[in-house]
């Protein structure tokens, strides 16, 4: 108990998230069996959610700094459509399309960051406008959803990284290798990179300071405006990269891509122990937040609750419980 008491809010929430994820996964293996035991089932969660992991990392950083960014789903859709059009209609190269993704992210970060940090406009309003703009712009770039046929891109999309020794034999007796997609590698690099940035760089500590208490941060001589500005640039850049990974996963451009991704990113961050009020959060927690969100969806449908609303209700319940835990964690301090 003493030990628990001395943990920081961030670490306690992280511990809770990780414990819940493992309990849930073990519960699923025990009760639902078979499917969940196969390593590929876990890798599929990573494959499906690589893009969400990347955007959630950006979301967590903005939330730690006390802001929010709901434009990330729109940015991801805009990236997918712009890259698809560039690759197929303009015969572009894969490297060029990656540059487009980064450029869209950077541009979004600069504009939104400037509005939020220097003109002091509410981040919710700024990114709401950003979301509408991105969705609208996606339709202007191209109305019709279409599949990218560019050979170099398709080759990259179909690249599989085989995980040795993790394959399994199905009941027809075929051995199938376990694999992850390239996006998963990108996601893991992003997670590790920003985990280190938040923990060891001055910039990272500034995020916590600004989100925790703006006044004290100012008194400590931290450039609050610049810190907020940078957090938005990081978030939008990661939304751009996440958008590209999403694009790489589905291989098509569409105005309805990544619909609601911003909400999943916020939910994952919260489940991962990031607080909406700022100053508390952890990137590893965010990773587990995404995994928990996806696992619970998997469990709900596997358990025979096949109607779509069941997953929605379960996620709502889960979010609720995590918010209560957070407020309890904060309350323990004030006692």
């Amino acid at each position: 108990m003493k030990k628990l008491k001395n943990m920081t809010d961030t670490n306690l929430l992280l511990a809770i998230t990780i414990v819940v994820f493992f309990l849930m996964y073990i519960g699923a293996v025990v009760i639902l069996g078979k499917g969940f035991l196969k390593p590929q089932n876990f890798f599929n969660i990573l494959n499906t959610n690589a893009a969400l992991i990347i955007t959630s990392v950006g979301m967590s950083i903005v939330m730690i700094t006390g802001g929010i960014d709901i434009s990330v789903g729109g940015v991801a859709a805009l990236v997918s459509m712009s890259c698809a059009v560039y690759l197929d209609y303009h015969n572009g190269s894969v490297a060029g399309s990656i540059l487009i993704a980064l450029a869209i992210g950077l541009l979004y970060g600069l504009v939104q960051g400037y509005l939020v940090a220097y003109l002091d406009i509410q981040p919710f309003i700024v990114s709401l406008a950003g979301m509408f703009f991105a969705r609208g712009m996606t339709t202007i770039v191209n109305t019709k959803p279409f599949n990218v046929a560019n050979e170099a891109f398709v080759a990259l999309k179909n690249t599989r990284i085989i995980v040795p020794g993790m394959g399994s034999t199905n009941k027809k007796g075929m051995y199938i290798d376990a694999y992850v997609e390239i996006g998963v590698i990108v996601a893991l690099i992003v997670v590790v990179l920003f985990f280190l940035v938040l923990r060891y760089l001055k910039l990272g500590r500034n995020f916590y300071a600004v989100g925790g208490n703006k006044q004290s941060a100012l008194m400590l001589g931290i450039n609050v405006k610049r810190t907020k500005f940078i957090s938005h640039i990081i978030c939008s850049m990661l939304a751009g990269i996440g958008g590209y990974v999403y694009f790489l996963h589905v291989g098509s451009g569409s105005a309805s891509h990544a619909m609601g991704m911003e909400m999943n990113a916020i939910a994952s961050s919260i489940i991962g122990g990031t607080m909406l009020t700022g100053g508390v959060g952890n990137i590893i927690g965010t990773l587990f937040g995404v995994l928990s969100l996806s696992t619970i969806q998997n469990i709900v449908t596997s358990a025979g609750f096949d109607q779509a609303w069941w997953t929605g209700i379960t996620i709502a319940a889960m979010l609720c419980i995590f918010l209560v835990i957070q407020s309890l964690v904060i309350a323990r301090k004030n006692k």
Partner: protein, 357 residues
Amino acid sequence: MNGSGIRRILSILLILSIIAATGCGNRPVAATDVLSVEEPDAGNTIIGFSQLGAESDYRSANSESIKNVFIRSMGYTLMFEDGQQKQSNQIRAIRKFIQSDADYILLSPVTETGWDTVLMEAKDAGIPVILVDRTVEVESDGLYLCHVGSDFYLEAQKACEWLKAYIDAIGMKDEDVHIVDLQGTLGSSAQIGRTLGLKMAAAKYGWDLKAAVAADFTQAKGREVMKQLYTKYKDINVVYCENDNEALGAIEAIEAAGRHPGSDINNRNVLKRSIMVMSFDGVSQAAIDMVKEDKISCIVECNPDLGPDVKNIIKDYESGVIPPKDIYVDEKIYSSNGRVESVSVNGVDYEVTVLKK
């Protein structure tokens, strides 16, 4: 701080893990459901069905048809996944079926493109995929076993031939036909076939096709789009809705604008002149009632009852019969009047069923 806060946290954690483990279920049957998914009555055929959503009456009827056929007592275990209109959800569902050792995968795809990779994975795992209702555009049709559903282009041809026969019967000129097209979800097979059919017919007969706007197969969007189109083009006299839900919305918009939905589009008295609504599906009672009231003039049926056909294909396949690539179901034409008795497409005659009160 005393330990009670921590204890509370731990107790909430415990509750959460229980909720998580049981899939948030508090109905008593949940436990048996869960067990039977794990041990599918030893030897049951496992069917995974990735349905694209529940956006229209057609879709709900289609899901029911499949669920009614593949029931446990008949030796099947059905895994049903609602894709909620998102391709990424459907891809995830198919991967899950593969991991769960499904024997067959049924797929009703939300869009036509982007399925190569995941269908290849199913093929590598030796699981035959049957496309239900909608179809996919893939490099090789060896990626799926067969497609069961409707011929959307033929449906559109039937509707357009009916319209041609009707205007000929009432002595209207082709150039006086001003049509707007309320399209379905862009990129879906139904939208592509039905839009193309109208486009070809309009070009062939010289009809004035004013606009084609997506209304996403929903009533709300149908009303909204029709309202906008009517503000823009007052001389519309035929609304070609790509499903019934859109038609119901369009009727609301027409009536709100003070006009009559109906077949009387050539009346000399401009005030009595109606706007004709044409539609597809014929699944919901609401739409059928609209035909009886002459608010919808013609519905070309899109038969959602595909379960029995799918079951027969699987039975045949198990006994070694390779099905043809495309299997089409029979579909009727409903009309509010008997002026057109039958229409002929590609030399085949299709009878028109008149629905009266």
